[in-house]
Symmetry: C2
Subunit: 346 residues, 2 copies
């Protein structure tokens, strides 16, 4: 594996130093990001700009090696404050659809969003709260069914009460959705995420691995969306800086956890039934995202939401067959078994 995790440990440079390689100018001006290097809002924006660039370039390298396409870069501003940078690679050679999005938004939270947050354990007073949110999110749907789909999202929130009291927290996660089960690949993926977590407490990986299994469950089918990974929300301990370091380590573990799987399988032969199975599984992916995913629903229900960036997570193509059931003992049935009964991988 060409990627070595934690190689920079102890010598991490400020994220703004990488600004030359960012996908576009940031949402906040570079000068402001540099001048406010101690403000978490600016630190987070610089970090997600760097992560976006690193991930886009790693994915694009695999695509261009096969003579494929480059990412389109779409910088957008929001009338109500803030904006985002959406990078999309569509209908490529290695990747059918890959989206890497950052957004940095602020404004007033509508009452139903406040409600949503309260339900998640945050106690906040007032009907309309000032908020700030910055995050990076990505979904990569490769063309080859032997390469899994990956999804990650790392985010930071600030909310201010009517009486000026401030709350902040981090959330995020990375998870894998294979079409065929390659145990070694899944173990590599989970091990890499565990390594990122372990530096911040041995209890984190088991807790966030379980949270991921619970979150990406599709109740009506009694199966998970994929083979999991890590998922967390409401992280605000032991300190803002420690939380930021943790989230940064998680975000940096995406490339070493996933890219080796792309490299390993991108030239695998594919049969017609394998492609059909992939499309059916993509239908299941759409079901989870549109019916259950809190982020998607919350996003779409917010007036003025940029739905193109939210729905970027959907595959280019998906398929639904009535009562499709893979033959007993097939590799397709083997995957289904693991989705019904999540395993421990490390």
């Amino acid at each position: 594996c060409q990627f070595s995790l934690f190689s920079w440990k102890g010598s991490r440079k400020p994220d703004v130093d990488s600004s030359d390689s960012w996908m576009s100018e940031p949402i906040t001006s570079l000068d402001e990001l540099k001048q406010n290097g101690d403000d978490m809002k600016c630190k987070m924006e610089a970090m997600i700009m760097r992560i976006q660039s690193e991930f886009v370039h790693a994915v694009e390298k695999e695509e261009l090696e096969e003579g494929g396409k480059k990412f389109l870069v779409d910088r957008w501003l929001r009338e109500q404050g803030g904006g985002g940078i959406t990078c999309v690679l569509q209908d490529g050679t290695v990747f059918e659809k890959a989206g890497v999005n950052i957004s940095v938004v602020s404004g007033i939270l509508p009452p139903n969003a406040v409600q949503q947050m309260r339900a998640r354990g945050k106690k906040m007073k007032g009907a309309n709260l000032k908020f700030f949110a910055a995050g990076v999110s990505s979904v990569v749907h490769p063309r080859n069914p032997h390469i899994p789909t990956v999804h990650f999202n790392y985010r930071y929130f600030e909310v201010e009460n009517d009486d000026g009291e401030k709350h902040w927290w981090f959330g995020g996660g990375t998870d894998l959705t294979p079409y065929y089960l390659e145990e070694k690949d899944v173990v590599h993926f989970h091990k890499t995420l565990k390594k990122a977590c372990d530096g911040h407490g041995k209890q984190l990986y088991p807790k966030y691995k379980k949270w991921c299994d619970d979150y990406f469950r599709v109740p009506h089918r009694g199966e998970s969306r994929g083979v999991g990974g890590i998922f967390f929300d409401d992280v605000d301990e032991p300190s803002q800086d420690k939380c930021f370091e943790f989230v940064t380590d998680c975000a940096e573990s995406v490339v070493p956890s996933y890219l080796p799987l792309v490299q390993k399988h991108k030239k695998d032969g594919v049969s017609y039934p394998e492609r059909e199975w992939q499309l059916l599984r993509r239908g299941r992916y759409v079901e989870f995202n549109l019916i259950y995913d809190r982020g998607t629903k919350f996003g779409l229900y917010t007036p003025g939401a940029r739905y193109e960036s939210i729905l970027m997570s959907l595959p280019l193509t998906a398929r639904w067959e009535y009562k499709h059931s893979p033959p007993e003992g097939s590799r397709e049935a083997q995957l289904t078994e693991v989705l019904k009964n999540p395993r421990e991988w490390v």
Copy 2:
């Protein structure tokens, strides 16, 4: 047009008389349906059995004329009471996916379902209510993009309070989702539905046409799912029998409103971009059904729901492209314009 609406008027036979042509034995025994011909639960079951058979046979005739497939018939029973008959034609010559489902279920309503009903204006006391529901629902996705997708659903509910007080009501509708706008086709479709409504009051079509436009709206895209039709719920006046007659007339208008469109376009030539556009529009169809459709969400959230019958409405294939926008002045843009600004067709 080979179909003539209302030709039987004044001489309507009991629906059980058509039992020889039903797709399978009913959920309730035929003897029981015959003996309880005055009970609306039995009348409704016999009616939807007949409608299912008539619609399946009309669709299948178009398919078989082109050497295609027959419907599969899947009768299922529900542990908690009742069951259904799901008829599916998949990957055919004329039809990519067509599902015609009846269900007759009874049991105890879970509290969140009670809540859902209360929100719709029905005042019912008690946490767990005895209920009965019978309905026919169908979605037809033709292969040719010049034939629209059609959806219809007609249903009857009974709910009993803790103190024995009974409520009943009917709901339903038929609506059309074209990929290319053929004004004549849309006018024919709406005119046929209007004719079915008009016999029961001139105010009904305008009211239910508007309700349909409002219901099938996709807020995040600012467009409608299709060109509408009729939609109604909570219908319980002037009498149970009059309501049943109205719903029966609506259900019988599906074949004459839609099948002429299939006949007219099933041999139309199709270009590759037309097929691509159809798949993109099918993605939008999936968005509506999974994010907003009350019936789908309510169904999937109900424990023990038969998700295969609920998700039968999804197309065989769908597609999502980032920021797809049809060229100005194209036929695709013309459709989009009508979806953004619903029109009066009659």
